[in-house]
Symmetry: D2
Subunit: 340 residues, 4 copies
């Protein structure tokens, strides 16, 4: 079976795993007070070129979104996301579970538009709407759920709207590395640090067994954040599991290098599909590629290929998602090519 | 530094880690649908001698307690625990965070008493108390936070009281292996399966990097449990991380073997302290030992020994906790002995 | 000033208020155990022609929706409503506050369509969607927020879809009396009792100072409902305040009589507007009428008329809501006529 | 039947009810924007001698406690109360329902002790305790659940401790009028305004049909408090119901006058019991009196007297609560006397 279903079908990058082996019997304090967590945080601050950034390590994306959003909002506030935003559609109501409404604005290939956001927010702050939850944060993902990326200008415009209404901008970077290494982006890590109030650097989908690193960019980490993580059931006794992984990923540029590999594989995958006459449903510059398949071909491929059904286009055709990652082998794309 | 501070100061048992290395590049589906999770669950059911037990894997103890308790309770229900119960004192209000009051009964070396529990519950169900949250579950830990163990008779009596009021009994087994392997217990895994409605088998403190295995014993796993785990932010994309670890721990009796080692070390540690004339504060038959130290000696030891301050006894003396685990080396106890 | 802004701008119907005066100094037990509450519940059961209906009295609509929805849903469930549903847009996130997502389907003059509901629900129950909150209830309002009414057939179709997926149908009857007394409805109270699983009979907008009466129609009132009301802060110490009001409203057909008056006034109001050449934005058969006004006329009217801005149509025209109630005087409509 | 069971067994003071009658047909805006609410707030500010106090009206005590506590706390914070505090024992877990743990300190006739409070708080703020919810508010009731009152010195000492740890002091004044009018108190409304950060003035038990008035004393009303009240289901459409009642209670000193009557009746009741040789269980200076009755006498009295069972003292004797209020008639106490 050729696996293109997601970017979490293998374990960890071998260097990450080796680190767990190397330091396995070293005794360390628990609950994120260990030296590997301290070192990982320092390296991430350096990666962000932001010495006063505040960094925290958690295990998964939904957990991270739930904790960041609920600790930064007050009781009466909602979070605004694209209709297709992960928190709106694929997190089992995790945000509502802790008390907050997810308000939505239209999505355009997964992205929100600053102008529409402005129009949406206006009514809440000028008194037109009453007895509504008040927007207290804007959530975007970069890359989005469709693999697309904001341009620097788009990101700046959204950031400006957030400032206009004095609410924070939070960026879900579950696949941040793949976004940064895209061949079609003008957004750097410095831009993200400058234009957002908080974001996370995804590890689970980029080389780690588990783990996401939250970065608070404006000296705005909520006080007692550690207590609130414990309260959410999100504090590992062996914080070292996260510390060692991120410490390794941010040593010798490993995180970006393995992200680049996934991008190279995605570009090759796209070439293969286009060469074979297939239509790409979205123009995605990152590791998620969306391909139109007719039903018969799809059924045939499923015998040998693990790919993700995305949506039905019409009676005869559907969109399928093919994903590359740090672990994708070029030879598997070549094998896929033969099946197309 | 000699580490006796807790049972989570090293990584994973080497066999567990080796498994992660061996299967690292095998492609598997995400979200707990992988074959290692399926296999681990089957082995745990076998370990429990209960073919229809329902098993679920999560990452940590507080997370597990929060999810089990909140998914088994209805909105108006509380959970009853010992005053010293972990959910009452060391989980940052994780149970209240999801809406439920923790009601307490007195603790006796960490244990609750069936008779006192009966008296406590009676008033809620006979109409004496009104406008109170209604007890909907009893929580016990075994071993307790003081390292003590319920006898089979004590456990049966508590279970009977729960049945009397028709509420489930939930057992926190963060250190269950150490309890089962104690030289001073008549409680078997079969007893726990029979007498409780749900319990968890701790992995984090017994050989895993992270992980706890919940067992629902009476075909009573709440429907849509997977959705609720996701809703709590507790679903790993790479569920294989938990699957491989538990599959290894429950192969060739590894879980109990390494638990036995911790017990052997704890017994030796106790001997050393007693031989040296120290007083044990609690008569603990498991891997946590509580020793009375005078303040001067404590300060002296801290130079070379990591131990946990537990409580002050009087002006001159305090209790310190010394913990052994699967990874404790006898030579370190010998070194400690020289310092006593 | 002529008040047409809402149906809660005056106090209580004089008979209701007189009852409070008459029985003021009679001593009664607290917390809804008083004889007036018992009597009110019995009269409401009779009104519903359903001897085993379970009735409960609360103070306001948002409170009622929050309690009914949260006590009938399990943790992982969402409630499905029209985009324009009150719980989705005008209750400050009260449903999310207690943990549940409001999922929406399109609204057509405030109503949902059984076919669209079916299509929406299908994906959740056939396995297409995963890691989503699972719909656990359908919420409709009757009359809707646009004053419109479901036909008996529409109501039956929606009810059938709910049964198909085995989830309850809950009807928000904040203005139920006005719906039942409309000249353009074939829906009776018997139909509502039969086709819904729970609904409430609005008092605040129909003759009471405050108060809504929940009716559980299928012997399905959640156990310990009283405790959960207290837990929500919704239990009045002097439950008699609600008991006396509903007992009076359901004596000698008062509730329907005063509802009929509001309908008569609404029909007259509509005639006046149409006669004067105005356009009705929605064809509303109940006490809320939506009129298109050009901006100049609107500004002029505001000097003497309290009406509610609803939405902007274009640069020159907006929709305003005019509401009648049990307390509307015909002479005020005549005065309004002169201003048109 | 002679009613001494509670202070909410009759309706409203006749002047309060007359006001509802007088202004019944005056049209007013909804949702607390009416002129009677505005006027009531102004009069309460004047009563408090605090022009910049922020006042808000709600319907009941549990609702008020839930909203004040949850809107003033952050997610990780707990509220500290006496073991006997109303929020700990008689509100069905309303505080935990919205996410916060109630931590307890010992009660002494219903009161907490500043010294014990200090000792309790110390461990949370000096780093001794970790992974605990952090105390974020101290809750006291005045009068307490035992009818007792803090002295000015006691109140000041508690307030000082709160300031020491920089957490607010909140006073539950469900029976505040009875406390202020006690013959045995040196605490004035000015003291309460100065020494607390928020408190509420109870209406339900002192002359109103329903209603409590929250006072924020330090310009510290949480922003968007109105939205959060709506979110809790606590906003009345006809806010005038509360406005008119409090506006009347705070006109011509009515609130204190009727409170004084209850105190006079309580003192007379106490005299009667003592004269007849009964023992008072608590030395209560307010309207709740606790009397020791032998079981036989209690059974006999129950034929004609509604009183509240409080607790069992021993096999032969129990404590019963007798309550006076604004509506207590002296002749009923005389009738009771004949039965003793």
């Amino acid at each position: 079976m050729l696996y293109f279903k997601s970017d979490y079908t293998e374990g960890a990058h071998p260097k990450v795993l080796q680190r767990l082996v190397d330091d396995n019997m070293v005794s360390m304090p628990g609950y994120c007070a260990d030296e590997t967590t301290v070192s990982a945080k320092a390296k991430i601050r350096k990666f962000c070129n932001k010495e006063d950034a505040q960094v925290w390590l958690l295990t998964g994306g939904t957990q991270t979104n739930q904790i960041v959003i609920s600790t930064m909002l007050r009781q009466h506030q909602s979070v605004v996301a694209a209709e297709s935003g992960h928190i709106n559609v694929h997190e089992s109501g995790a945000i509502e579970f802790v008390g907050h409404k997810v308000e939505t604005v239209p999505q355009h290939d997964g992205k929100i538009c600053a102008k529409e956001l402005d129009a949406f927010l206006k009514d809440y702050f000028d008194g037109t709407l009453i007895f509504c939850p008040i927007p207290g944060m804007v959530y975007i993902s970069h890359p989005t759920e469709y693999g697309t990326l904001y341009s620097k200008e788009e990101l700046k415009n959204i950031s400006d709207i957030c400032h206009k209404y004095d609410i924070p901008l939070y960026l879900d970077g579950a696949r941040l590395g793949y976004g940064l290494m895209s061949r079609h982006t003008d957004v750097t890590i410095d831009d993200i640090v400058e234009l957002t109030d908080a974001f996370y650097i995804g590890g689970t989908k980029i080389g780690a067994l588990c783990g996401e690193a939250i970065v608070f960019t404006k000296n705005n980490m909520p006080a007692y954040f550690d207590v609130m993580c414990k309260q959410h059931g999100a504090m590992l006794a062996k914080g070292r599991l996260l510390g060692m992984q991120f410490d390794t990923l941010f040593t010798d540029n490993l995180y970006l290098e393995i992200s680049r590999h996934a991008i190279d594989m995605a570009e090759y995958l796209k070439e293969v599909f286009v060469e074979k006459g297939y239509t790409m449903h979205v123009d995605s510059p990152t590791n998620q590629q969306f391909v139109v398949l007719d039903n018969k071909k799809a059924e045939e491929l499923k015998q040998n290929v693990a790919m993700e059904f995305w949506e039905r286009l019409d009676e005869d055709r559907s969109v399928y998602r093919f994903v590359t990652s740090w672990s994708t082998k070029k030879e598997n794309i070549d094998k896929l090519k033969e099946l197309l």
